[in-house]
């Protein structure tokens, strides 16, 4: 059985009285030890889905199960088994708490070990993310962005979770620092057989770290498959455009991503799609079963 199961998840918001459907029926499973990359552009619903998977965003309908139990309304013993790492490393940490306190807080809340042993655990966590013990007494703002993201990763690991859900964890970092943090994640994930859901708009970053890729567009999954197969032979016209832009900066898709307050009918990509047929304008294609598949009437019928 999958460690995390998303069944027909819908997330919606009310914006100025109007209903905005951010996630419009996503189903996916993540096996234990798997690393799934979730790719999509701004407004595609990937962060809403991430927050829903963490139980932080209520579902309009559908269900999300961790190890067979719903994540919404989960008690502390279930909750500690899946942890988030967010994009903005600075605002994810309390600016008035020292690094030692930031790392100790989850241990205190979940009453992990004897109070006296927690200080040793903080040292262990810092060592794990390759930060010197000197940072313990410092405040988050005195650290570099890369160091702050290491603290967030350490904090997420404090309770020995099985699953990490990372939402654009390296997007705000410079290229040289990004590589350090990606290497760290790789090492830690391998050593602890962690299951990862890694969300990013950057296909290269996702491809480097993950063994499977799922592509989101307009609140829906449009493609899923093993990383190498998705990147080398993408099926969905949208994934094809992303892969073309990755290879050559002047490539891309015509038009612009749709607005969440007014999704196109049928396949949401049809207004930008070069191979769309009449059926694409009225009927929404489903994501079929299989190892590598796409929700497209034309390229994966």
């Amino acid at each position: 059985m999958a460690l995390l199961t998303v069944e027909d998840a819908h997330v919606s918001y009310r914006a100025r009285g109007a209903k905005v459907e951010a996630v419009r029926g996503v189903s996916l499973g993540v096996e234990k030890g798997q690393r799934l990359g979730l790719v999509g552009e701004s407004g595609c619903g990937k962060s809403s889905l991430a927050r829903a998977m963490l139980g932080l965003e209520p579902l309009a309908s559908g269900v999300i199960l961790f190890d067979g139990q719903p994540v919404h309304g989960a008690g502390p013993s279930l909750r500690r088994r899946f942890q988030p790492v967010f994009q903005d490393a600075g605002s994810a940490l309390n600016p008035r708490m020292t690094i030692a306190d930031c790392l100790r807080e989850p241990l205190d809340i979940h009453r992990v070990g004897a109070a006296s042993a927690r200080q040793a655990r903080v040292d262990e966590l810092l060592e794990l993310v390759q930060l010197p013990p000197e940072v313990k007494a410092r405040l988050p703002r005195t650290l570099s962005a890369g160091q702050r993201q290491r603290v967030n990763i350490a904090r997420a690991l404090a309770l020995e979770p099985e699953l990490l859900i990372l939402d654009e964890p390296v997007s705000a970092l410079d290229v040289s620092v990004q590589a350090q943090v990606l290497n760290l994640l790789e090492t830690i994930a391998r050593a602890r057989s962690l299951t990862l859901i890694f969300i990013s708009h950057d296909l290269d970053v996702v491809g480097h770290l993950c063994d499977e890729v799922a592509v989101m567009y307009a609140g829906l999954l449009v493609e899923r498959g093993p990383t190498a197969r998705v990147l080398e032979s993408p099926l969905h016209p949208y994934t094809r455009a992303l892969c073309a832009a990755r290879a050559k900066a002047l490539e891309g898709a015509a038009g612009e991503p749709p607005s969440p307050s007014r999704w196109p009918t049928g396949c949401a990509f049809h207004p930008r799609c070069a191979v769309a047929v009449d059926r694409c304008r009225t009927e929404r294609p489903a994501l079929p079963n299989g190892e590598h598949r796409a929700a497209c009437f034309v390229t994966d019928p």
Binding site: S176, N183, A245, E256, P257
Partner: protein, 315 residues
């Protein structure tokens, strides 16, 4: 002589050297990429050329555009040169456009400041500019407010405004950073075709190496305020000479090559931080004693005491 000749451009603010001796030239119709990580001085260079630095900043060197040295101009002459000689396209189009002005008002205001023209002529030119940057239904768009446009459309309006006074140099500061992957290519292609058609020199400031590789002719790599490597794109990207350029290219994740990335140890020094010798030496795998004391002079495409041999960094 090129359209743009920057020589020894340096900026000091509160004792910190933000930019230290940048030189580059750009021919008409060409794009020059200026790349570097945060704190490298790339935006400082743009602000120095536009004379938009905060009071107290000391600028040295020259930036000659179309025969005019922007750094030496008097304030009155500068007002005339901005827009006509050099124009800027900013990263965040929503912040760069006044939310209470329509697209038409933006363009007409820009045109009016620089040309005395009758109202009908201003409108005609505004429509022509929007058509040139490929905004559909230009006449109707004049009445639109920035929030009614999409990100890509706003970026086109900014480009139209930058072109309004027919500048010789366009500085584009991270023009695609706020855009989605599927749309970046369209904006880059638009900037490039505009440069070619108008014989415009473009300085493309970005941290996006692939954008520079695919649209620019030449590239300058900055590190902590200093120029470390410069040359034709195909050379710098395939056979980098400076260890920093080499490391920057190697640090990008490649999905087809799993395993550890060649990360650069340490962090970029802060603007006030004084690193003696080569500013990259604390992070450089090739550094020797000389690098710690003696700043390398820029020569033959790179500023490094021990550059990679021409084939050593081949990628």
């Amino acid at each position: 002589m090129s359209t743009v000749e920057v020589r020894g451009l340096s900026v000091e603010l509160d004792g910190a050297k933000l930019l230290d001796g940048l030189s580059l030239s750009i021919d008409e119709g060409r794009l020059h990429g200026l790349v570097g990580e945060s704190g490298s001085g790339k935006t400082t260079a743009a602000n120095a050329m536009l004379r938009l630095l905060p009071a107290g900043a000391k600028t040295r060197g020259s930036a000659v555009v179309g025969g005019v040295d922007l750094i030496a101009l008097s304030d009155a002459a500068l007002q005339r040169a901005r827009g006509r000689t050099v124009a800027m396209m900013l990263q965040e189009p929503l912040a760069a456009l006044n939310p209470v002005l329509t697209v038409g008002a933006h363009l007409e205001e820009t045109l009016e400041v620089h040309h005395r023209l009758p109202k009908a002529e201003l409108r005609r030119r505004a429509v022509a500019l929007l058509e040139e940057v490929g905004l559909p239904d230009a006449q109707a768009r004049l009445k639109a407010y920035p929030h009614q446009l999409s990100g890509g459309q706003r970026q086109r309006v900014l480009l139209a405004a930058a072109l309004a006074c027919e500048p010789a140099l366009l500085i584009a500061d991270e023009p695609t950073t706020a855009l989605d992957a599927s749309m970046k290519g369209v904006v880059l292609a638009l900037i490039r075709s505009t440069a070619e058609r108008r014989k415009l020199a473009v300085l493309l400031i970005t941290h996006d190496l692939s954008a520079v590789r695919d649209v620019c002719r030449d590239v300058s790599v900055l590190y902590a305020g200093r120029l470390v490597e410069q040359g034709p794109v195909e050379q710098v990207f395939t056979r980098p000479r400076h260890p920093y350029t080499h490391a920057l290219l190697a640090a990008r994740p490649d999905p087809m090559r799993r395993g550890a990335l060649e990360a650069i140890a340490g962090v970029v020094p802060g603007p006030g931080e004084d690193v003696p010798g080569c500013r990259f030496h604390p992070r450089c795998p090739r550094a020797e004693a000389r690098c710690r004391t003696e700043a390398p002079v820029f020569a033959v495409g790179t500023a490094c005491h021990f550059p990679l041999a021409p084939d050593e960094g081949a990628r």
